[in-house]
């Protein structure tokens, strides 16, 4: 015997220590987390650096990224990318990418969530 139930969930999600990063993302800009001890810049930010240091500052980076690997299909288009000025990589949604496109730039997401989305830009891949 089946009983049906609709359960709407209205979350209020507090970004906490990610607030500065998420706020920037909503405007289509990128803030990396820069380690105070070794200077390593993480984007997506890591709260604790690989060197073990927990102190860092928010550092604006250009918001441009190079696509290293990509996947596409019924689930959408996604890339494993490295943002300029960052020492770590990130998974982003690729919007409007053609087969040969390798470079992209963050855009402000539509809607209410801080999504990581890049659109292609036509320039050389930096060394």
């Amino acid at each position: 015997m089946i009983f049906e139930l609709d359960l709407p969930l209205e979350y209020r999600l507090e970004a906490g220590w990610l607030a500065r990063w998420a706020e920037a993302l909503m405007q289509g800009t990128a803030l990396a987390r820069s380690c105070r001890q070794c200077g390593r810049a993480s984007f997506v930010p890591e709260r604790i650096c690989d060197c073990g240091c927990s102190e860092g500052s928010w550092k604006p980076v250009p918001g441009k990224a190079t696509v290293i690997r990509r996947t596409s299909g019924l689930d959408g288009n996604f890339g494993f990318v490295r943002f300029d000025g960052a020492d770590t990589c990130a998974v982003v949604a690729l919007e409007g990418f053609e087969a040969g496109d390798r470079r992209g730039e963050l855009i402000a997401p539509a809607g209410s969530l801080p999504k990581l989305i890049i659109r292609p830009i036509h320039e050389e891949v930096p060394d």
């Binding site: 359960l7 998420a22 997506v44 996947t71 596409s72 019924l74 996604f78 990589c89 969530l113």
Partner: protein, 387 residues
Amino acid sequence: MVSVVGAAITEFGRRIDGTSFRDWAAEAFESALSMSGLERADIDLLACSSESDFFTLQLNPASVIAGDLGLAGAATFRVEGGGASGQLAVHAAANAVKSGQARHAAVVGFDPSASQLPAATVKELYGYSFDAWTDGMTGASATALYALSARFFMQAHGLDEGHLAKVTIQNRANALGNPGAHLGRRHSEDEIFDSPVIAAPYRRLHCSPLSDGAAAIVLSANDFVPGSRRSAPRIRGIGAASDKPRLGARNSPGQFRAKSAAMRKACESAGLEPGDIGLAEVYDAYAGAQLQAIEALGLTDDISCDSLDGAFGPGGRLPVNLSGGLMGQGAPAGAIGVGQTAACALFLEGRHRSSLQPAMPPRFALADTHGGVCTTAAVTILERGSQ
């Protein structure tokens, strides 16, 4: 030492037969208890595993399951670690028995992953099981994240669609021999290559299904193993480890490093090498993930050759996923790890219902489970009992 005195796995699949996850949990437990020769009152600890309250709509499920199983009075709790939940529950129960907290412990894993919510809702919820604030909100599906990881691995090891197809064909064929499996099939390469691309390189036939089901084991401390179960398999070693949840933060996004670390710990505690393993149930959420797992577990020196040469087939050097694995037997999240350990115990004892039950079971078997894109890894090594 801890013995696996009882083990049972329900049918996995999309259960639309008027039963609920509470029925499956009871069915698995009663069957494992009956095999153990123990009484209900002997069980002094119940570890449950289910991945998400969203699936069951039952918070604190262990309390309700304990009630259904007539185990009021026993210590009860639920263990959750994504896809690894079941194996982590096995570890928690084994540690409780080893420490003397419990003489006899039951582990029951279950999830209604297929029948209680629409598949699209389950998929969206799974999207929040990686980093919800980045991968989740961006909308990257589990398949997309696994696909990106597989891309790195496949390039590093020279693997192509042929290697992926081999895994699908093998696991689904293995499942044909397992009467409780969700997707026993005889697939052709063409059928796989023609199936829709979900997130390249993954096509639909490279993915494990959403399934309903439950599995259970009963563990006993060495001094309290029932007389009839003196030859039951034993847990020889366990290991668990983790990796960074976001692929982009990892130095080697194609490598399942948490799994390697978990395996190292399990081998150390068992005093064994990966080469001692004679049979493995491996976490094949996707075809490529099985290859990544086998490599990370140290079970091959050449994943490309070994996988094409049939080293991991039923007649090979190291049979992998004789049950059919997640891809063939099915994947009810919380039941997976318990089911893998139960399958290993049953195979070692010569009691698995699969037609692929080896006539001469090996001495050691490995149950390998993970959550995330191998963010949370948990492995268990079992040893055949002495006759």
